[in-house]
């Protein structure tokens, strides 16, 4: 399907979520399970994206210190935990990826 149509659909869904309770003016409240599950959504969604990028190579599991993306990803997790900075995580992650590829390449 056309990329533009998908984009507009995503935009409408996002706007609807942002408008939802503002439009409802506090007449609606969250069920308890929804309030409990919501904080886990970003963590679960984004980790589900990241893990295959680090651990899979052409569809096969590559669990080894020789896997440059896995090593760079693990170091990036440590950098993110310490600095909490997108910029430093990117710089460190790319530096390790380059170094590892160079050493093992």
């Amino acid at each position: 399907m056309n990329v533009w149509l998908i984009m507009v659909a995503c935009g409408l869904v996002t706007f609807a979520l942002r408008l939802s309770f503002i439009a409802a003016e506090g007449r609606v409240t969250f069920p308890r399970w929804f309030r409990l599950i919501l904080p886990f959504v970003p963590v679960a969604t984004l980790t589900a994206l990241v893990a295959p990028e680090l651990l899979l190579s052409q569809g096969a599991l590559w669990l080894s210190w020789r896997n440059p993306r896995l090593v760079a990803g693990v170091i990036a997790v440590l950098i993110a935990a310490i600095t909490r900075s997108v910029l430093w995580t990117l710089v460190g992650g790319f530096a390790v990826l380059a170094l590892w590829s160079l050493m093992l390449g």
């Binding site: 886990f40 589900a48 680090l54």
Partner: protein
Amino acid sequence: MSLSALQEFLAGARALVPLLVGVAPFGMIYGVLALANGLTPAAVLAMSTILFAGSAQLLFCQLVGAGAPAAVVVAEVGLLNLRHALYSAALAPRLTHLPRRWKLLLAYLLTDEVFAAISQQEAKSESSPHRHWFYLGAGLALWGGWQLSTAAGVLLSARLPTSWPLDFALPLTFIAIVVPLIRDGAMLLAALVAGTVAVLVAGLPFKLGLLVAALAGMAAGWLVAGRAR
């Protein structure tokens, strides 16, 4: 606009500016990666207005670049942006007196950064009859910063060597977003389950494995958190 409305507007913009330090590189990365995933420059720039949600825009690029079907893309983006409904609920009581056009405008601008700026302001100062101008100032400052940094990414992209593994910026950016969110065991469990399931079911067609893995991670965190509280 009265003087105090103008003051609120400027205070809102000022409150948001420090957050642009984190937003600007993110917007540039999005611009570069969106082009690398085959989007046209027009689509890249338009998405920053149509979606106006950084991590969802990156997710969109990755899914579309991988050839995921429309329904999966919309479902994933909706899932990722569910948190905005939480912001909407928190802000709703403060906006009930406003006309509809204000509600529509402020809802459109309601992002992570704007919500953070608003929460800080509400915590430190008394309510004002012109507080909605503060929200607007913060929202427009972020909107402008996001559009500019996206455009910078599009311009920069042409100058980067094609041999660079730029696609790796996506997982790195997501790592930088996720790690600070992991503050307790339940959150760590949600991440571990989501990541493990994602690897196990990566072979599913249409990138459906992402949806399955995200739901598994959410369920795991919810089960632990629900029992603890």
